[in-house]
């Protein structure tokens, strides 16, 4: 027998769990500590926001909320590596990426607070909305990439899916299409080890999730998803080659879901505390902070000042969300079609009449 094809999956890490450099080929952006500090500050802001959002849910001021605790490095790296013209297709917890792209925290709260206006967000108007049906966003991103190819636009589409989502037809279909058409599409699998209660080991027999891209003809890389420098390096590379017509890429960001799946979940039912405890030792903020402190670019004082600043910003956002008036009742009709069909006008009038009788 001869070999028909062979492959290997590389793993990328710059900072170990303690924040020590494990490679000496630091990329350009990471040599500029000011830029790293800005990224760290964004990650740190996301964590403050996330904690506040969970607290709002616990006190009945927010609906079910999907926390992003532990995903900050992966998400902020994705957002910061993209151009504003690129298209982002998130699942539903990539706030770090979206804040970098201009989405306001109050808009995240609006969505989980039961108001569609959250998805009419301040980020790029072409970005896809939050996507609840698992992995369907992958095909939307690949479709966007197809549009860019047809129109010869130097733009890239990026989607995020979880380890569980990478089991779905749509994930495979999207990378398959990207391979068949050489699309400018980057599929990021944020592997946080848990799909609600089902562990990564029950999703697939594949040794890595990154290697799923091999079958589609894409370049693949596994990255330490808790290492901002590695994640950003991988994203820069994937986006650059996609933009230059070299096709799609699958990036597996290995991280850990430090929170419950959503506020409606209780992860203590299915995973051992010891596992979570050990995951906290590898979490993304600590290692970047340690690195920046070692570079004399950050200090406890900076940390304290910035945390206080984050609290203030988040409070303003929370208040804006809490003070937003409920949409008028007829809003449920007003975006179903570009123009309300005659057939729906009677129902809209009924709802309005019912509402007016109450006042």
């Amino acid at each position: 027998m001869s070999i028909a094809a062979s492959f290997e999956i590389e793993y990328l890490q710059y900072l170990d769990a303690d924040g020590k450099l494990v490679r000496n080929d630091l990329p350009e952006f990471a040599r500029d500590t000011r830029q790293l500090v800005e990224l760290y500050k964004t990650m740190s802001f996301v964590r403050v926001f996330d904690g506040k959002a969970v607290a709002l849910q616990r006190t009945g001021k927010l609906g079910t909320y999907a926390s992003c605790l532990g995903h900050e490095a992966a998400h902020v790296a994705i957002g910061s590596a993209m151009h504003v013209d690129d298209v982002f297709a998130p699942m539903y917890r990539e706030y770090g990426a979206q804040f970098v792209r201009g989405v306001k925290p109050r808009e995240v709260l609006m969505y989980w607070g039961g108001d569609e206006r959250g998805n009419d967000f301040s980020g790029p108007a072409h970005d896809f909305p939050w996507c609840v049906p698992i992995a369907t966003q992958c095909l939307h991103a690949a479709g966007a990439a197809m549009a860019f190819k047809i129109r010869k636009e130097p733009r890239v589409a990026v989607s995020v899916v979880g380890d569980g989502g990478s089991s779905k037809t749509d994930f495979y279909a999207a990378i398959n299409m990207a391979g068949a058409q050489t699309l400018p599409y980057v599929s990021v699998i944020v592997n946080n080890q848990w799909a609600i209660s089902v562990p990564r080991s029950a999703q697939t027999g594949a040794k890595t999730l990154a290697q799923k891209g091999i079958a589609a003809g894409l370049e693949c890389l596994q990255v330490d998803g808790n290492d901002l420098i590695a994640m950003r390096t991988a994203m820069d590379y994937a986006i650059k080659r996609a933009r230059h017509g070299h096709g799609g890429m699958v990036i597996e960001a290995v991280t850990y879901r430090l929170s419950d799946h959503t506020t409606a979940d209780d992860a203590r039912r299915y995973r051992p505390d010891a596992e979570v405890k050990s995951a906290w030792e590898r979490e993304p903020l600590k290692r970047l902070r340690n690195y920046l402190v070692a570079q004399n670019a950050w200090s406890d004082k900076h940390e304290e000042t910035w945390k206080a600043e984050c609290e203030k910003i988040v409070d303003v956002e929370v208040n804006a969300y809490l003070e937003a008036k409920v949409q008028p009742v007829e809003a449920m009709f007003d975006y179903v079609y570009a123009e309300l069909p005659a057939d729906l006008q009677e129902q809209r009038a009924q709802v309005l009449a019912l509402e007016q009788r109450k006042h």
Binding site: D120, P129, L139, A174, Y335, Y337, P341, D343, L344
Partner: protein, 326 residues
Amino acid sequence: MAQVTLIEALTMAMAHEMAKDPSVVVLGEDVGVNGGVFRATVGLSDKFGPLRVIDTPLDETTIAGIAVGMAAQGMKPIAEAQFDGFVYPMVDHIVCHAARFRTRTRGRLSCPLVLRVPWGGGIRAPEHHSEANESTFTNVPGLRVVLPSSPSRAYGLLLAAIRDPDPVVFFEPKRIYRQYKEEVADDGEALPLDVCFVLRDGSDVTLVTWGAQVKETLEAAEALAKEGVSAEVIDVATLKPLDFDTIHESVKKTGRCVVVHEAPRTAGFGAEIAARLAEHAMYDLVAPVERVTGYDTHIPLFRLEMKYLPSVERIVAAAKRTLAAS
């Protein structure tokens, strides 16, 4: 003016719109060099190239999901579901996304795609190639569900569907793809969506139908006329949103209504029309509404399929029952 079949009229409409609007693209299985298994896209690949007439991988989920993504980013994709029975893997993307993007984003994004679905039985095809599954989509807010029944309406309604700013599921009655030719001018004139077409005026009974059954229903009206019964025939054309006013006006005049469709009866779209007549036209009716439909069974394989589909005989008998009742 060209004499064209229904399917040629569809090709003509797509070619017209693709020449006029660079954002219009066609995608599906075998739509490229092969021109589609029914030849609906024949010649388009030569004219517009493989980037606008895209042979996708053999996966319906891909076709629907890619179409949604393209439509949300400024393209006007026309996706082909090779056969009605293969549409189910597409439903997730059409129902959860195409139909909801405008609502979900408060109008920031929309999804102006057309899903073309060769539809219905009567062509002696294998299993899963003969489904009348329009009701899968008529309960979905945000969609238009359109079914042409002649070459000129195929041309005009497909143009309207492509130009519509919202997603349209465009069912094509494949049984009458090549049944007859009609003069259709390639003038880019669309027909209105959301309206019924009155195909024959009558005063005794209203026959309401769509798609391939327009043929049998018109024949039934002709047979009834020979017996002195004047039947009005309405082609609903756009099932959703429904132009109930046209149906109601007709029933005000005739007092009788027979709804004809080849989909199974229970929760078929005829049930919606009958319910609306009960709500709004009870006192105009002089006889119970009749439905002539497929049975609540799977459409049989082709040795029996013509016994499943509504026949002229069944339509005439139903019309006569409404006349006997009053």
